[in-house]
């Protein structure tokens, strides 16, 4: 990794035992656009704000929620370009698993491998940690699953979680609203309400993105028309 002149790690311990670069990476995540995820009894939903730099940006070309496999999707808070790199690596790992075992990769395994990549970038020469936290939503033989992966490489399984600018309000809202036996459609409504909580301006199908996966094990990003339907139901 990196130039031969930088074969030492740039991420070094501070006297208090912290890795300051990772703390800064988490700050980068914390100032990114809010994203959140909810695990329902029969599926998972992930959603994010999609605030564009200006009205001249072609919003149809911006896709923050990405597929990793047909049954696993992901969204991020933080630096978009870092997210692109991670998505590319994760997709490759998922395909390698499929080629070896002819079986789709379980969600936990893909999350673990992605987290391993992120950890490697905190302990290699000449590189910096990734400035994104990921929310990975998938449905496999173990049922619906939602994982968060941090720049340090640690990962957690969540019933519901949020990241980015509005994280504390969103998490408080989710703690109040979340129930274990929620169905997927209820979860989508709750996700929209949570996004609305800290939203600056008018929420619409043009400035949020929602992805869901149900018992059919197919991850889909909702079309703006579908988002409009859900928004109308929430009103």
């Amino acid at each position: 990794m990196g130039d031969s002149q930088y074969s030492f790690s740039l991420t070094t311990f501070s006297p208090s035992g912290k890795l300051v670069q990772i703390e800064h990476a988490l700050t980068a995540v914390g100032s990114g656009q809010t994203s959140l995820g909810l695990k329902a009894s029969n599926g998972v939903v992930i959603a994010t704000e999609k605030k564009l730099l200006s009205i001249l940006v072609d919003e149809a070309s911006v896709q923050k929620i990405q597929h990793l496999t047909p049954n696993i999707g992901t969204v991020y808070s933080g630096m978009g370009p870092d997210f692109r790199v991670l998505v590319r690596k994760s997709r490759k790992q998922a395909e390698q698993y499929l080629r070896l075992y002819k079986e789709p990769i379980p969600v936990t395994q893909l999350v673990r491998e992605t987290a391993t990549v992120m950890q490697e970038f905190t302990q290699s020469g000449g590189v910096r940690p990734f400035g994104v936290s990921l929310l990975v939503a998938g449905y496999d033989d173990k049922g619906p699953q939602l994982y968060q992966v941090d720049p340090s490489g640690s990962y957690f399984s969540w019933k519901a979680s949020a990241m980015g600018k509005n994280v504390s309000n969103a998490k408080t809202f989710l703690e109040k609203r979340y129930t274990e036996d929620m169905e997927l459609d209820d979860a989508i409504h709750t996700a929209i309400l949570t996004l609305k909580e800290g939203f600056e301006g008018e929420i619409s199908s043009k400035n949020i993105e929602i992805g869901k996966i149900g018992a059919d094990k197919v991850f889909r990003v909702l079309t703006p028309a579908e988002i409009d339907d859900y928004l109308a139901e929430v009103e």
Binding site: R99, L100, Y101, K102, E103, P106, T108, Q109, R112
Partner: protein, 204 residues
């Protein structure tokens, strides 16, 4: 001197009703000389998955060790046993890695998959999978085994009858092959138990 016929071997697997049987001969030879009469060709990967390897004995042992290694890591990482179909894909990939300097073995894989459905397959030494619904054979006695199995096999046999059938097929086939024999080793696996039996045949 044919390298696949250096040690001599016979392996066969058959599908029954919610069960399978896998059997092999016990001779280890160096061309015409018999070295051992208790050579282990079939190995357990987990309670519902067995692999029998025919061909060059050193590769049989090494390949088995590599596969057990991979499966143990898989079990630790994924906290579950490998499905037989998945294991077969893994074996195929490992064999193809050595496409231009192959392991000189032909594996026979037999296992119980989801819902205890029996699964068998064989492949050549570079990983070409051959799935079958009834029986698979490999080794120096394979031609005789094909004939015997074709004649004796019936679908949906219970464990007892399956044991008898596979044993007869194995013993009659290895008797026609000078490089394999010296008894048989049979495993009959049902969802609840594994029955292992040693057969006494013509000891030559």
């Amino acid at each position: 001197m044919q390298i696949f016929e250096y040690n001599g071997s016979a392996v066969v697997a058959m599908v029954g009703k919610n069960c399978f049987a896998i059997a092999s001969d016990r001779r280890l030879g160096v061309q015409l000389q018999t070295i051992a009469t208790d050579f282990q060709r079939i190995s357990k990967i987990h309670d519902h998955l067995f692999i029998g390897l025919s061909g060059l004995a050193t590769d049989v042992q090494t390949l088995y060790q590599r596969l057990v290694f991979r499966h143990k890591l898989y079990q630790l990482r994924e906290e579950r046993d490998m499905k037989p179909e998945t294991f077969a894909s893994l074996v195929s990939a490992i064999l193809y890695e050595k496409r231009f300097g192959p392991y000189l073995c032909q594996p026979v894989i037999a296992g119980l998959g989801d819902d205890n459905k029996p699964f068998i397959c064989t492949m050549d030494s570079i990983g070409a999978k051959e799935l079958a619904k009834d029986f698979v054979v490999s080794g120096t006695a394979s031609e005789s085994l094909y004939g015997a199995c074709e004649a004796m096999f019936k679908p949906d046999m219970e464990a007892e009858e399956l044991f008898e059938t596979i044993s007869q097929a194995l013993l009659s086939s290895v008797d026609r092959d000078c490089l394999s024999g010296w008894g048989g080793h049979v495993y009959v696996v049902t969802p609840d138990e594994i029955k292992e039996k040693i057969l006494k045949g013509r000891m030559d």
